[in-house]
Point group: C2
Chain length 120, copies 2
């Protein structure tokens, strides 16, 4: 089954609350994740909310990586969406786990743009 | 069941190929979508690929909206991820459909950050 994009939906609970509120650290984690995947960064944007929480998006030549955090709940929602066979989104898991230290991690693996070949 | 984010995963096929390759038009569609949802735009970034295709991400005070297009296949992958009860991601569908004119649209509705209350 051919498809255009690999999209990992990550639910992280029990993360380090300080890391979840660390805008610079999250930006570095995004860059590390982009590199780990073998992707090409076009630009990155992070935003710190008051009183807490960070949003970050890395725009890639191969789609995007996003994060939204709730430090008060120890929760982060991350999406790693890549296209192209030279990029492996699962490789982003290592830098993400190292930085956020989630006690519990769920991964939903969604294929985007599925193309059914004739006869299948 | 309480949750933190509403995430609509949209698969659009049979779109207008010109619209899929129209960077300015896609940027306007993203802004219209943000407004339709009742969300607050922090920043927007679009990128045009050679020979074709556009990526766009709108970073919101309430998470993000992203689009990646394949004009040669008439396909777009869109994610509308919002948090907060004042924002309704489904309202983004109207400006998206009006601009891209998909012949076929699939919607996957994913709740992010589900919090189980005690006793449930």
């Amino acid at each position: 089954m051919r498809y255009l994009g690999k999209h990992l939906i990550l639910e992280l609970w029990g993360c380090d609350p300080k890391a979840l509120d660390d805008q610079e650290g999250i930006e570095k984690m995004l860059v590390d994740s982009v590199n780990a995947c073998g992707a090409t960064l076009i630009c990155i944007k992070t935003h710190k909310f008051s009183p807490q929480g960070v949003t970050g998006v890395a725009v890639l030549a191969e789609s995007h990586i996003s994060i939204h955090t709730w430090p008060e709940l120890g929760y982060a929602a991350i999406d790693v969406f890549t296209c192209g066979s030279h990029v492996e989104p699962a490789n982003a898991l290592k830098p993400i786990r190292e930085f956020l230290k989630p006690k519990h991690l769920e991964v939903l693996d969604v294929k985007r743009g599925i193309i059914l070949e004739e006869g299948k």
